[in-house]
């Protein structure tokens, strides 16, 4: 079964190690401006949300691409951009509802998360497991169990 890059902002401490190791893997330099993942820092709430491509089931980026440069990796289900076919029109960037396709001035016209071919570097380094790469059912089951435990313990305290 294919796996999903699961993000849990509650566990994120805003260390942005994901951005650093992503940029290093893709550009051989440490440069967050060129990372495919980005931790959004909410200054007043002091909260952190990592954002990267969700690898949609029906990607609008793929739909809009005039050259058929965007397709799905058979092994990982990642939505990939083929640089050979890409003409750099950036329409994919414009239609992505999440802002997760970037144009960052480097040699590739647009870039996005490719799940590192099934071994996401950000997940390997994330120190708090705010990023995990899991079979989708495993993630939902874990959350069910967490909530179920809370539900159970509260029910036990309540007199009906």
């Amino acid at each position: 079964m294919s796996r999903t890059l699961v993000i849990d902002p509650k566990l994120c401490t805003g260390c942005r190690l994901c951005e650093l190791v992503c940029s290093f893997k893709k550009t051989e330099t440490y440069n967050p401006a060129r990372a495919r993942i980005r931790t959004i820092v909410m200054e007043d709430e002091i909260a952190f949300v990592p954002m990267t491509c969700w690898q949609c089931e029906e990607p609008v980026c793929q739909e809009v691409c005039p050259t058929g440069a965007i397709g799905r990796d058979a092994a990982t289900d990642a939505v990939l951009i083929s640089l050979e076919r890409c003409i750099g029109c950036k329409m994919c960037m414009m239609v992505c509802p999440f802002g997760n396709i970037q144009s960052n001035g480097a040699k590739e016209p647009v870039v996005k998360c490719d799940l590192c071919g099934g071994e996401p570097e950000c997940v390997l380094f994330c120190p708090t497991k705010a990023l995990q790469y899991l079979p989708a059912d495993k993630f939902t089951l874990a959350r069910k169990k967490r909530i179920a435990e809370k539900f159970r313990s509260i029910l036990e305290e309540v007199e009906w």
């Binding site: 260390c15 942005r16 190690l17 290093f24 440069n31 007043d44």
Partner: protein, 598 residues
């Protein structure tokens, strides 16, 4: 260059000149970066005996060759200048995101000299550098300044700023970056204020090149595993933050209470890391690339409003708490928030108020001078004096000078708990001898992060804290290694789990320099000796390597360390000898030769 960006940015605020200089490779190798390289620059360029507030004083923001990489907790920079509090070298360390941004913009260091006629800020966008008017931000707090400058520049910009305390030349004003992180000690913010420099805004979109990427990545992964499995870095600090130390240190009877009159605080539990976690913690925060995440996002209910911020850290909790006999954690947190907003060091603030409280108890200070009764335990008094000190209003104008000048002014210099006029942090050295020698010999005055022997004496309990035997050697090793860690740009807290042989492969892989364990530690020793040479040239000497008389003469009255004083004289003699210094604490010619300082 690899590792280093290779460029130093120099800005003269008197002339408006902005220049970029090539980083000298030999200097980079010998002094590494950050604390080391900036100290070398200050030593070479600052005319001896310059007044810290003279335009000729330099203010240097310096990152290390690992800052901004994925090396665990390599988020740091140092703010280096001549201190208006101590007259010695100041090197204040901070993390967050800003230090790395300086490197992504293409620089290892920013050197600021001169003084602007009008309030200004620097706007650095990669290779474009401007001096802009800061009239709209002058008088504002650090948070508002951060927001105003990002509005004027780039929402992605990272900001260094001073608050009102820096503007008013409070001698212990700090420099705040990323709204909540502080290069807090030794008054670096006052020097920034004296230059009419309100802020530095940086946006960098470049990358850091690594010589051997595969080796670097492997070293990062190895260190990450060590940090995660270490009891302090993987468990204690993430769970409770630095405040975990309140109960630990109190149980050793060395939590300085009521201006170091006692070593045990009855209110410790109420201000402990456990209490903070239970009552105030919202979430943990990590600086860039940090797997520890000791930062505390906290929230208080203050006069009907929810206020959210970061901290307080252990040292602040102690200074604003036990040192003043205050056990109201919400109030301590509020004062800590204010210190960040005003840009003021909470350690020296709390310690100075504690000194004033003892002067008041002794009857030396009266309501006539202070404008209010000032008893130990008076939280409202502390709150009021925090504001007044930042504004230099009334009695706050006296407190803004720090405890040494306060106690001197009222004829009781012995009641200032400081060395080289900088206040001690949160460990009574009578029950931890090594840190006593550390306070006395610290190049920036009373301080815990120049040689944190507490790690070995208390936290790891590897050596007996009550004996002075072997402490000179222990301290020297810690001081030299700390110079290395501060100079590469990593956080000192990683050293609870990492040693020099964990830093070495990172630095070599990043820079391509073939440091050895010995040559790297020798670079640390070189940096320490250079700082010492700076201080000697400024007129400091053996008599300044001392401690407050209380710590040398009055035995701790109770607790596990009861009956002890600091055995400074014997430790100091041994320390000088092991350092290769003469009886007056001057490095011998032979030592200078060996370190390439001759």
């Amino acid at each position: 260059m690899y590792g280093w960006m290779g460029t130093i940015l120099r800005v003269n605020l008197s002339t408006g000149a902005i220049t970029k200089e090539k980083l000298d490779e030999n200097l980079a190798r010998d002094y590494i970066g950050a604390r080391g390289l900036a100290s070398k620059t200050l030593y070479d360029e600052l005319p001896p005996r310059t007044d810290p507030f003279d335009p000729a004083n330099l203010l240097i923001f310096a990152a290390g060759p690992l800052t901004g990489t994925a090396a665990t907790s390599a988020s740091r920079y140092n703010v280096v200048t001549k201190s208006p509090l101590t007259g010695a070298i100041a090197a204040s360390n901070s993390g967050g995101y800003l230090p790395a941004e300086i490197r992504y913009a293409g620089y290892d260091m920013i050197i600021v000299e001169g003084r602007s006629e009008e309030p200004v800020y620097l706007w650095i966008k990669d290779d474009q550098v401007e001096i802009r008017s800061a009239k709209a931000m002058w008088g504002k707090g650090t948070r508002e300044t951060d927001a105003l400058i990002r509005d004027e520049t780039d929402d992605e910009a990272k900001i260094i700023s001073i608050g009102i305390a820096g503007e008013k030349l409070v001698r212990f004003a700090g420099v705040i970056n990323d709204r909540e992180r502080a290069a807090g000690r030794s008054g670096v913010g006052a020097v920034m204020g004296s230059k009419n420099l309100k802020a530095v805004a940086v946006r960098g979109t470049g990358g850091i090149k690594i010589k051997d990427g595969a080796a670097f990545r492997e070293a990062v992964l190895r260190n990450l595993a060590k940090i995660k499995s270490g009891p302090v870095t993987g468990e204690g600090l993430p769970t409770y933050g630095t405040a975990i130390l309140v109960n630990v240190i109190n149980s050793h009877g060395i939590l300085p209470t009521n201006n170091f009159q006692l070593g045990e605080f009855a209110g410790a539990e109420a201000i402990s890391g456990e209490t903070l976690t239970r009552d105030l913690l919202v979430r943990n925060r990590g600086c860039l690339a940090c797997p520890i995440g000791c930062g505390r996002v906290t929230e208080i209910n203050w006069e009907g409003n929810r206020e959210r911020g970061e901290g307080p850290e252990y040292e602040s909790i102690w200074a604003l708490g036990a040192a003043c006999g205050i056990s109201d954690l919400e109030l301590i947190t509020k004062v800590n928030f204010l210190c960040n907003e005003y840009g003021m060091d909470p350690i020296t603030l709390g310690a100075t108020v504690a000194c004033a409280m003892e002067l008041f108890a002794e009857g030396v200070l009266t309501v006539e001078e202070t404008g209010m009764p000032l008893h130990f335990g008076d939280g409202q008094g502390l709150l009021e004096l925090t504001r007044k000190t930042a504004m230099r209003e009334g009695f706050g104008d006296v407190l803004a000078e720090g405890s040494a000048r306060l106690a001197e002014k009222y004829g009781r210099p012995e009641l200032s708990m400081s060395s080289k006029k900088q206040e001690y942090p949160a460990y009574d050295p009578r029950g931890s001898q090594g840190i006593g020698l550390g306070y006395a010999t610290s190049n920036r005055g009373g301080c815990h992060v120049r040689g944190y022997t507490i790690g070995a004496e208390i936290v790891a309990a590897a050596v007996d804290p009550l004996t002075s035997a072997g402490k000179a050697k222990l301290l020297i090793d810690v001081q030299d290694f700390t110079c290395v860690v501060d100079s590469v740009g990593m956080c000192l807290f990683t050293t609870f789990s990492l040693g020099v042989d964990d830093v070495l492969p990172l630095l070599n892989a990043a820079t391509g320099v073939d440091y050895t364990t010995e040559s790297l530690l020798q670079a640390g020793e070189r940096i320490w000796n250079l700082e010492r040479l700076f201080n000697l040239r400024e007129g400091l000497g053996r008599e300044d390597d001392s401690l407050a008389p209380r710590l040398l003469q009055e035995p701790l009255p109770a607790g596990p360390a009861k009956g002890n004083v600091v055995e400074l004289e014997s430790m100091l003699n041994e320390y000088y000898q092991l350092r290769g210094w003469d009886n007056e604490g001057r490095p011998t010619g032979e030592k200078l030769q060996a370190l390439g300082l001759g």
